[in-house]
Symmetry: C2
Subunit: 359 residues, 2 copies
Amino acid sequence: SEQGAPLSPGTTIGILGGGQLGRMLAMAAARLGLRAHIYDPSGDPPAAQVAAHHTEAAYDDTEALARFAAAVDVVTFEFENVPAPTAAALAAQTAVRPNPRALEIAQDRVLEKSFLNDLGIATAPWAEIGERAALDAALSQIAPPAVLKTRRFGYDGKGQARLTGLDDAGWAWETIGKAPAVLEGFVDFRAEISVIAVRGLNGRVVCYDPGLNEHREGILHRTTVPAPLSRKIAQDAVLIAGRIVNALDYVGTIGVELFVTPQGLLVNEIAPRVHNSGHWTIEACLVDQFENHIRAVAGWPLGDGARHSDAVMENLIGEEALAWLNLAAEPAGFHLYGKDTVRAGRKMGHITRLSPRRA
Amino acid sequence: SEQGAPLSPGTTIGILGGGQLGRMLAMAAARLGLRAHIYDPSGDPPAAQVAAHHTEAAYDDTEALARFAAAVDVVTFEFENVPAPTAAALAAQTAVRPNPRALEIAQDRVLEKSFLNDLGIATAPWAEIGERAALDAALSQIAPPAVLKTRRFGYDGKGQARLTGLDDAGWAWETIGKAPAVLEGFVDFRAEISVIAVRGLNGRVVCYDPGLNEHREGILHRTTVPAPLSRKIAQDAVLIAGRIVNALDYVGTIGVELFVTPQGLLVNEIAPRVHNSGHWTIEACLVDQFENHIRAVAGWPLGDGARHSDAVMENLIGEEALAWLNLAAEPAGFHLYGKDTVRAGRKMGHITRLSPRRA
């Protein structure tokens, strides 16, 4: 594992990306007496409202990146689509945690699935699609229903086309913009779950209990913890997450999305960052996914991931946040992200309802 | 009660004072999608590291105060010694919550004790001391042991002198600087407890369970919740706090310190702000004292003050914070306040250890 002395109180965590995940990371850093420095191209990103410093610059602004790297004690990120040259430029100057290899793998579905399969971790059947002819060939092996996904930079259901029959091939290829892609066999899953895992600088791993995820229009709607799983399946999910972070020599919080199928667990994708499906940890655990990410990248001991309560987290998407006054009156953990403009599909906040822990 | 529409998400809470209480208030505001604007004379106060805005100006800078009042949607404060002219200047321009009368009473031990006694709330026996002769006269009514305290601006045991006999009168009068004072009869208390109460803009009151406070060298060392009290005493303490906030038409969080004596409860003092002995609410309650203060001053519905766990909070004073790496490794809620310089008696952070709720 990567070694290093823990960062002292008063040092600065550089965070690429100033959205709600960066905002919650900055607040977690502040709890521990650490400063946050947000790097984000926009003028008033949510995270800058709670951070000691904000560099407003583009991700390819090499001079701004150099100043940022010099001003902070470690760099981390809130989104997996950090451009590879950005990560490389920063890594040449300071510690970047998690390491850029996790970004490289998570940004490319071919690398991601190969990495998982090489570890002996099952995924949906898949094929690399570089051109239209490859799609036709793949459809003879992976029968529809299937999903065509761009190889890079998919997010919340964008860049995807669902094929219900062989006739959809041409339409699907057009829909994703004829970009390099993968074809994935459709998985008849009983549930989608996720495991939020954290790996410290010393290699210690902490996992939160798996949550059940429900989506609406391709966006996470609700996470329920604990997920209704057998003890064995829950343990298998945690072990898979542990194998992934160890293989990546990972430092920080990761989100691993899995499908529960009659044949066992498949990994859907990995997100090398704090994860929307881990927001429930804020209220239901003593140390949440954000603080544990900060602890990890700062080289601090990880906090306990034990859950003291059961939890149901729901995202507030677009106009759902207009009901803020009623939502704030509920006996629940209520969060808004400081975004001025309500837009359809935009994550505006979330609410977490607790109940006594049953099992 | 004061009326008013709730402040919308994105509006700004002005906070006088940028210490650790202002820091935790700013973070609570951010959770709710509100911005914080810190007013503090120093250049890099702890709260400014997590706030959207910071005005660095003196508390008697009338121009800066006017700009601050114009830039925020409501003003609150993290310390009770806000100068009266400062509060008045702000109140002339915008809403100040809690209202300045609570400051006036809390800043003056004579007003405070008269206010309490007029409500039928017991205090230690006390006498107003304006001059040396009054001290001698009072000592004939209130026999030593007794404590002489400056009438105004006491904090963490400063400005106090303990008299063990009549001979101490001259020394005590010198010690407190011959300032206007009160003499308090020494109370043979079994325990010091505090109640953290919150009153909303609509008059609704939420109280957290009383905590047992232990001091070292005049500074709070530990708060244990629940305090070991009979059901009746605990309820009486909460009712006293409720009577105080209603009589003050109070909006926000208040700390009420009480002595448990063989004759019943006495109020020691009231602090019209979030309170050190309420830090345990961060980990042990769904909505903590800081968020409920922000909810109150923003005119939002108050959050539930129910405690899901038992808690022991300990302050990290001065060099105690140097053990941060060991403390961070404990299964506990760990907080540092972003203060660069360790000084004797300085509150650097705190740690809260939880255990399952017993009763």
